[in-house]
Amino acid sequence: MSGPDLARETNGAGAHPPAPADPSLSDPWEVAGLTLRSRVLLGTSRYPSLQVLLDSLDASGAELATVAVRRVDLGEVGEEESLLGALLARGVHVLPNTAGCYTAREAVLTAQLAREALETDLVKLEVIGDDETLYPDAVELLRAAAELVADGFQVLAYCGDDPVTARRLADLGCAAVMPLAAPIGSGMGLVNPYALRLIREQLPGVPLVVDAGIGTASDAARALELGYDGVLLNPAVAGAEHPALMAAAVRHAVEAGRLAYRAGRIPRRLYARASTPSTGLIEVDRPR
């Protein structure tokens, strides 16, 4: 019985970069025309305060942060401006999402507004099909992805853990495919690591990010161990008792997971295999 982890001989992704002599050397990756050193993508929602968000962002090391696109408060110029300003002042790339969109039409207009407002071609495409599970609507998602790619967007597509939908998104030219680990906000971790592994193996060379469902640092490590290029998370950090500490934990977990992936884990086996060689073992008479 083997686990979902990528063993050396079954690494369909074939994406192990040559290991540098010093494993602490930076290991950047590319997505949507950006070269990033951090593999943490952080959401900016539901922190106790803007300051806690910024502390968490710093602790996570994230260089890409998601934001939503919402109506301005006609009453006053408030927190939205300070959020965006603070992100840009840190040199963090802003990744607008289409959260709350249920149709391709809504998602496309939201992405276009985001491009105008934030002067970025990046979009985290999210088209929800059900308001209790927040599972993506594959039909509307693919439709929106096709339109947005044709319109020049760099689409990072949030999707279910179905390898066929994932491949379709990649074939459409999405900049990244981002399957869920578990429902948004559930914190359940990687509920189907086998499906995530299939997606990784079937889409070698495609930037893949585990998005949604991360509950704690070890979940993030596991995603990276499976060969995912990064993780996108939000409530796991924002809702933790100490968000900035969790952000730091995730940063380390992601680095550890990536290193473990590059190192190439041993295959799982059911029976023991002595780690100490038996050659040169002394002989002692065993009682009959």
């Binding site: 900016t44 939503a68 696109v69 401006e81 959020l83 607008p96 207009l109 276009q112 407002a117």
Partner: protein, 75 residues
């Protein structure tokens, strides 16, 4: 003073709003207290984005639905 002909009824972010007839997007933004020169927000009229460089020319008409959006916290 404005007569009924000088104003029109539009929707701004889902709220009914009275604005001078034939106002440009740029004037409308000023009218509601937004500085159009500040970055970070976008405008759609009737579900179509009005690009920033068109704000000085594009006019809003009676019954139009205007959306003004910006970045907000999101995951």
């Amino acid at each position: 003073m404005a007569t009924p002909h000088d104003t029109m009824a539009i929707q701004v972010n889902g709220e009914p709003h009275e604005a001078p007839s034939g106002v440009t997007v740029e004037r409308l933004l000023r009218h509601i207290g937004r500085d159009p020169d500040l970055p970070g927000f976008a405008v759609a009229v009737n579900d179509a984005v009005v690009r920033r460089d068109e704000w000085v020319r594009a006019t809003v008409h009676d019954g139009d639905r205007v959306e003004i959006v910006t970045a907000s916290q999101g995951g």
